[in-house]
Symmetry: C2
Subunit: 190 residues, 2 copies
DNA sequence: GGATACATGTAATGAGTTACATGATTCC
DNA sequence: GGAATCATGTAACTCATTACATGTATCC
């Protein structure tokens, strides 16, 4: 249902739009929230029209179709938000990779998380910019709350990666230090 | 591939295990990282055995099968971690609902995010407890990095919800204040 | 003997990705 | 006239959920 709700929300926020425009939104503004390809969007819009949640106003310039939310569509969105229990299923590849880190050596693992840090630091900045550009204009608040959440989540991942990298690097250092050295015969052990 | 890698990782961490045990791990320790049902786990293990990533030692007490990672399996896990670009696709229902919030009134929206805050505050605490229980024992570090990330992400969501609720509540208050009052004709406007 | 947990599967359906396919308009 | 962008679809496949189906060991 989430894709359907995302589409209803987008149409509520932007007014009428066609599938192409909605698909683009999943590629830019909505990319840190939800994603979908056009091959998923077009059939879903057709099903939604059949269910009476949107109306299709056929045939603009090229074979395009302009969709708008119906009253039933708005109602359905409100119902979903307030009455349907959010899906709490987690399927987080970053976290999965974090879980698997110990199967790598400390050095390789540290390198990996350093890259994660860089990526999410950049993403946080990009979303922050988007959020700030969202201040006054068109739609009342749409995107602002999501952008704020995006910034906080990306920052949290980057901070975690920084912490993990530090830990792994010191671990790698310890191992190196603890290794026997040919030129010296240390008397203390780890 | 993620499910496959999660299974390889679990088997690396725990040593040999059967599908039932692995499925349970997705329900508790791994639930904030990745999830899967037994109907997905059993066929995947069979495919992995066929691909030579794990070996199945048939027939324990009840028709059970004990799986272990092969050398090829370990190699495949390392290869995936270091050479395969992580999937950055975001499909986050919390963020989606955040995006859709403005389609609700401020009061209803505030109530919703207060519930989110409560939920994620509790989740953060639960994972923190798991993390702390993970200190010394069995597997070297498995789970510790993921748990730390889980705590940070859950806390970030709870903090965001707290912030959003505050904002929405003051918005709701402003609206109420700005409304004309019968007993008084206010001279100042919002 | 009955409930609960252990243990493994398959089938139908839905959600999502990648690839195939087509055509119109606009900009240069 | 050719490239880029607009615009919409379908087909094959993979991944995930829900429901159906079956049987064993253990605890009380």
């Amino acid at each position: 249902m989430s894709l359907r709700m995302a589409l209803l929300g987008l149409l509520t926020a932007k007014g009428a739009a066609n599938g192409y425009e909605l698909t683009k939104a999943f590629g830019d503004t909505l990319s840190h929230v939800w994603s979908a390809q056009h091959s998923q969007v077009y059939p879903e819009l057709a099903r939604m029209a059949e269910a009476g949640l949107v109306t299709a106003e056929d045939e603009g310039p090229r074979g395009r179709k302009r969709y708008s939310v119906t009253e039933a569509g708005g109602e359905e969105l409100r119902r979903w938000l307030t009455e349907v229990e959010p899906s709490r299923t987690v399927r987080n590849e970053v976290a999965l990779r974090a879980f698997l880190l110990p199967s790598l050596g400390a050095t390789a693992a540290a390198q990996l998380v350093r890259e994660e840090e860089k990526f999410y630091r950049q993403r946080a900045e990009a979303i922050a910019q988007l959020r700030d550009s969202l201040q006054a204009p068109d739609t009342p608040g749409f995107g602002a709350y999501a952008a704020e959440l995006g910034v906080r989540l990306s920052t949290a991942i980057a901070d975690w990666a920084e912490w993990a990298a530090g830990r792994l690097e010191s671990e790698a250092g310890d191992v190196r230090e603890a290794e026997p050295d040919d030129r010296e015969h240390g008397t203390h052990e780890a």
